[in-house]
Amino acid sequence: MEALIALVIGVLTAGGVFLALRGQTFPVVLGLTLMSYAVNLFLFVMGRLAIGVPPIISDAAAGYTDPLPQALVLTAIVISFGMTAFVIVLALKARAEFGNDHVDGLEREADRR
């Protein structure tokens, strides 16, 4: 279980870094999204992996799982969601300003004249 989760986080991060280094805004936005998925998963499992236990102390249950990472990850999800929405709008604006989706806004020869 630990190995699987670690592998998932690793692959998501690697894919995110690869895409974030691309030259077009769309892959960059996707890369940032993958990285934020990876970090959300990472934060979540920092409360340790447990199955079938409630996030609160209860006499009926055998144990409990740490509720704090769940609260942290909710905050992180909301923030990264907002940021992704913002960066998509910004990328669209850059696309409209430059006429292409290169991150440096490289202009085509035809546009420059």
Binding site: M46, L72, V103, G105
Partner: protein
């Protein structure tokens, strides 16, 4: 309700409420919005002064949100350092806002709202005593800064903004990885509790904790524009509007503040595996930042670009002081911090005045028509240049002098002295060249260029008056920063104040 008890949270809540009120007022007449924005920003000043006074005796004001005891609840902590940063921010914000009132706030509809939210994020970051809340306040100030950076629009601004947003999103991701690892190992995010738990890290977790702490350092270094994470700054700062660039002069200091706050707590003498963690990295990187910043100043093609590179150079100087880490060096850095913030902001505002008066040439460093009111504008430029280059008699000189003196008993003294002195000379040459190009090598203008108005020059004069004030009151102020440094090098009081009976 007893107001003094709630003092530490007021500088956080006030800009938030002001931002919300301005959002409700966004269809109201401009004069009303401006009045509300100025009133809210002015109100931060007495709050910051009250906090300085309340913390001047060395007290830590701990504000428990929801009255939950640390480490279970979230705390805000006001000490001398936080109060000092709040005061600097309040003064800077006031003059940046006054400059925006000359018409720049009309270029987009949400300027005043975003400005208040930016202050909300800044003040929160300075006051929080919790690592995750530091992340949240970072995100708030960043999100507001994205909007402010793009205020007014334009191709260059959108391009610089895109780069700024993407690199900061990557930084936020790394911040969360570091925070997650620290939580996974210690089970706490309260900075004081973290310091206690990290000092007792078992050896098998030492490598994990060290990598998390260095990852966190990388994030703060990105905000502080430390080499090699510098290159996003010049484009972003030189292409945004002048009042925003002036306000952003404090943003690199947020990174430097975070380094100082977190590592003075978790990487001090008694910090177990983290003791002296940054010693090998911070000073060399800061020296490189200063050198690169000054080279950028020489190579700049426009005055605003030059101002942006000067921000990089001042971040380098500041981090040299924080990296040396002795009480004397910290005191010098903390004295230099408001000086470099005010002086850089003054140059951004003055550059905008010059750019507006020169028409098509804008602020490019090329000889052009003589400026209207050249004596006044040139005189102001002369004073700003003296302040930024660190020449006597202004506070830049005093700050650098204190830093050099503090470096005397460090093993890195030859490096610090040579880099600080040589870059100082390079800065003087570059600024003298800019001044002579802009004010001496001129020809008679065709037509009647628009003269800089008094309203637009007043914030520059105000910021320079603050620099003069730092110089005149250097004695008591450097005593205050020395006391702050003493407080930072003895983190035990902070831990006792926050954790209280919990230990």
């Amino acid at each position: 309700m007893n107001v003094p008890d709630h003092l530490p949270i007021l500088p956080v809540v006030l800009p938030l409420l002001a931002g919300i009120a301005l959002l409700a007022l966004r269809r109201a007449p401009l004069a009303m919005q401006r009045g509300a924005a100025v009133a809210a920003t002015l109100a931060l000043l007495p709050l910051a002064l009250a906090l300085v006074q309340a913390t001047a005796d060395g007290a830590h004001l701990v504000y428990k949100l929801g009255n939950w005891d640390a480490p279970y609840g979230i705390v805000l902590v006001a000490d001398r350092l936080a109060a000092w940063m709040l005061l600097t921010t309040a003064l800077l914000a006031l003059f940046a806002l006054l400059y925006a009132l000359t018409g720049i706030d009309r270029e987009g509809r949400h300027f005043h709202i975003l400005f208040q939210l930016q202050l909300f994020g800044l003040n929160g970051a300075f006051l929080t005593g919790d690592l995750f809340n530091l992340f949240v306040f970072f995100e708030i100030l960043l999100l507001a800064s994205y909007g402010l950076l793009l205020h007014g629009g334009g191709r260059q601004r959108v391009k610089a903004g895109l780069h700024y947003v993407v690199i900061n999103l990557v930084g936020s991701t790394l911040f969360l990885f570091a925070v997650g690892t620290l939580y996974g190992v210690t089970g706490t995010l309260n900075m004081a509790d973290l310091a206690v738990k990290l000092a007792a890290t078992p050896p098998e977790n030492a490598a994990l904790v060290q990598s998390a702490a260095l990852l966190l350092f990388g994030v703060f270094a990105l905000k502080a524009a430390l080499v090699p994470l510098t290159l996003w700054l010049p484009a972003a700062y030189s292409h945004t509007s002048a009042p925003v660039a002036a306000l952003f002069a404090i943003m690199t200091k947020v990174g430097a503040y975070s380094i100082l706050r977190v590592y003075s707590l978790v990487a001090g003498e008694a910090a177990g595996p983290l003791a002296h963690l940054l010693d090998a990295w911070l000073v060399p990187a800061a020296l490189a930042t200063l050198a690169l910043g000054m080279l950028g100043v020489v190579a700049s093609g426009s005055l605003r670009q030059q101002a942006a590179w000067l921000v990089v150079a001042s971040a380098g100087t500041l981090l040299i002081a924080f990296g040396l880490g002795s009480p004397a060096a910290l005191a010098a850095g903390l004295y230099y911090l408001p000086h470099s913030t005010f002086a850089a902001a003054a140059l951004f505002l003055l550059a905008d005045n010059i750019a507006r008066a020169r028409g098509e040439l804008a602020d490019r460093l090329e000889s052009g028509p003589a400026l209207p009111r050249a004596r006044l504008v040139g005189g102001l430029f002369f004073v700003v240049a003296i302040a930024l280059a660190g020449l006597p008699p202004l506070s830049g000189f005093l700050g650098k002098f204190m830093l050099l003196q503090a470096a005397l008993d460090s093993t890195r003294m030859p490096w610090v002295w040579s880099v600080v002195l040589v870059t100082g000379l390079v800065g003087v040459i570059a600024l003298a060249r800019s001044g002579s190009l802009l004010f001496y090598r001129t020809h008679t203008p065709h037509g009647e260029p628009a003269a800089p108005t008094n309203a637009a020059l007043a914030p520059v004069v105000g910021l320079l008056a603050l620099v003069a004030g730092l110089t005149v009151a250097a004695g008591p102020l450097s005593e205050f920063t020395a006391a702050t440094a003493a407080q930072l090098t003895a983190p035990q009081h902070y831990l006792d104040a926050v954790l209280g009976g919990a230990r």
